[in-house]
């Protein structure tokens, strides 16, 4: 399985233009935001102290969540390419077995997702440090690093469930475009969740990436929010709800609840993809027997 993961990573990172465009794809929402939306958002938050810094960290959180979704999806394209080019047939002849091969695609996609998020984080933080003097605490950075791994794993299994139904690279590309476009809105990166219509807000709660975005925002913004609101819980809760720092079910979710929900989504999606894979393998095995 290690050999296979190494192969997948080699294939990804040796294709330099592929890596470049994948990063650019993640960066583009960030750049577009800076160019088109930031000023508008800033003016609506004018009465807040440190509005700039808050908005910067808010954007980093949302962009990282989008990155986790889009890069893992495009990394899973390898699985479809291999199937389409009959490489999968060759791989399945080895002792590795289909289930381990499948897992190795997921792991390498998760590694790519985490590394791309790391690169994005460095780029964005660097940019905001230079323009707005953004600093982050060690705890915040460690939490963010941990979440990069968690979010990649979550995004991989959710995407893998979707990719199961896609059989050509061409179609996966189209799916990637759809997901890439929708993700920014669905995890509330372009427009704050609280500013969305009620139906859209409900939809956001169904997107696993929203919980990732919320956790990122909590890690990045929490101490800044505490100073900004200096103990005014009602105002802080209103802000959390508006900006999607905490998602709203019947009440605002705590960090533990958010983690729990992510865990449940992860288990559900993982159960689904591995279950489906297992069933397919069983079906095939019935046909070749040994005497």
């Amino acid at each position: 399985m290690l050999a296979m993961i190494k192969r997948n990573l080699l294939l990804y990172f040796r294709d330099h233009s592929g890596v470049f465009f994948s990063l650019l794809g993640a960066l583009i929402s960030f750049i577009l935001y800076l160019v088109f939306l930031k000023k508008n958002m800033l003016s609506s938050l004018r009465q807040m102290p440190d509005a700039k810094i808050l908005l910067d960290t808010w954007l980093i959180g949302g962009t990282l969540a989008i990155t986790s979704i889009t890069t893992t999806l495009s990394s899973l394209a390898l699985m479809v390419t291999d199937k389409e080019k009959h490489i999968a047939a060759d791989l399945e002849l080895t002792d590795a077995g289909p289930l381990r091969l499948f897992t190795s695609y997921l792991i390498s996609a998760a590694v790519i997702g985490a590394l791309t998020q790391l690169a994005m984080f460095i780029i964005m933080w660097g940019g905001f440090y230079l323009t707005d003097g953004l600093t982050l605490s060690v705890t915040a950075v460690l939490n963010v690093l941990g979440l990069m791994v968690t979010s990649s794993l979550l995004a991989v299994v959710v995407n893998a469930a979707i990719v199961q139904g896609v059989h050509t690279v061409d179609n996966l590309g189209k799916l990637g475009t759809i997901v890439g476009t929708a993700a920014g809105f669905l995890v509330g990166t372009y427009i704050p969740i609280g500013a969305l219509p009620g139906f859209a807000q409900g939809m956001v709660n169904f997107i696993p990436g929203s919980y990732v975005a919320a956790l990122y925002r909590q890690f990045l913004m929490d101490d800044k929010l505490k100073t900004a609101f200096s103990g005014n819980v009602t105002a802080e809760n209103a802000f959390d709800r508006l900006m999607g720092v905490r998602l709203n079910w019947s009440t605002l979710l705590t960090q533990q609840e958010t983690y729990l929900i992510m865990g449940l989504i992860f288990s559900g999606a993982a159960g689904l993809v591995f279950g489906m894979k297992w069933l397919r393998i069983q079906r095939r095995h019935r046909f070749t027997r040994e005497r």
Binding site: A3, R7, L11, R14, D15, A89, D90, F287, E290
Partner: protein
């Protein structure tokens, strides 16, 4: 019997790709599945390998043999080097010695381009790497799906002698599909397939004897008279030449001796695999 297929059938919707094919493969044998494009060769092979589920019928191996497969298309990664490609595949198997890739690269003459990217290799070099990949797990059976299609004659011969050498030296069981008839010539066992059915089987010599006719071309100053003298119907007649398809060499000799005075020149060509193949599968293109 190492491998046995019984009534192997595969349908894709209405289309019957493989129709009740029976195969027996003995250990150490060399079997060629011969057939034109779309005859059902690859489908049959994929069912033998276990990559495709038969619609009906069964494939039985006498124990769990190690399989090596050279696929029709490339299954290695263009942007990885030969070394990386083979090493990755070696890592996928249990019990492959650490020096296996090195040993194979020497055996198959890959050493000069081991660090070159697979995508930059020539067709013949790629094929050799493909074969090396198939041999990584020291297989008992080597399947080759049209291994020499699209290669020049020198490379075809080289690949061909390589496969034969492997069969001899490693006691490999080889099963290959081809539509090059000369390649089937040296197989122990030729199975001619068309439209998913087995049309003939046996050694190349047996098949040629049974299905290929010998061709006798006579040049004569008086074609009309010569034609009248011979009982057999000519297959072709020109101003000064006459062509017969004959079942045996003896018949040809008889015609030649009886009509000596009328013949200014002659050419005798024994039946080839081409003739047998065309006789079996017809001249239609697909």
């Amino acid at each position: 019997m190492l491998l046995e297929a019984q009534h192997l059938t595969k349908t894709f919707g209405e289309h019957v790709a493989v129709n009740a094919v029976d195969l027996q493969i003995e250990k150490g044998s060399f079997t060629a599945l011969l057939g034109p494009n779309g005859a059902g060769k690859s489908t049959t092979m994929n069912m033998l390998i276990g990559l495709l589920q038969p619609t009906a019928g069964q494939v039985t191996y006498d124990h769990a043999p190690k399989l090596g497969v050279v696929f029709q298309g490339s299954v290695l990664d263009d942007i990885l080097t030969v070394q990386e490609n083979l090493q990755v595949r070696a890592g996928q198997y249990r019990h492959v010695p650490a020096d296996r890739v090195t040993v194979l690269s020497q055996q198959l003459g890959l050493t000069t381009f081991m660090s070159q990217r697979y995508g930059t290799l020539s067709g013949g070099q790629r094929r050799r790497v493909d074969i090396a990949r198939a041999l990584i797990n020291e297989p008992d059976i080597l399947f080759l799906d049209e291994p020499t299609t699209g290669l020049d004659i020198q490379t075809r011969l080289a690949i061909w002698s390589l496969v034969q050498r492997l069969q001899r030296e490693k006691k490999l069981t080889v099963i290959l599909t081809t539509h090059y008839l000369d390649e089937a010539d040296s197989a122990d066992n030729v199975v001619v397939i068309d439209h998913g059915r087995v049309l003939a089987r046996g050694t190349a010599a047996e098949i040629k004897n049974r299905y290929a006719t010998d061709q006798l071309t006579l040049t004569s100053p008086d074609v009309a008279q010569l034609s009248a003298q011979v009982a057999q119907k000519p297959t072709r007649l020109t101003a000064n030449q006459i062509v017969f398809s004959l079942p045996t060499m003896q018949t040809a000799l008889d015609i030649l001796t009886a009509n000596r005075s009328l013949i200014s020149n002659f050419e005798f060509r024994p039946g080839t695999m081409d003739d047998a193949f065309l006789a079996l599968t017809g001249k239609e293109m697909r």
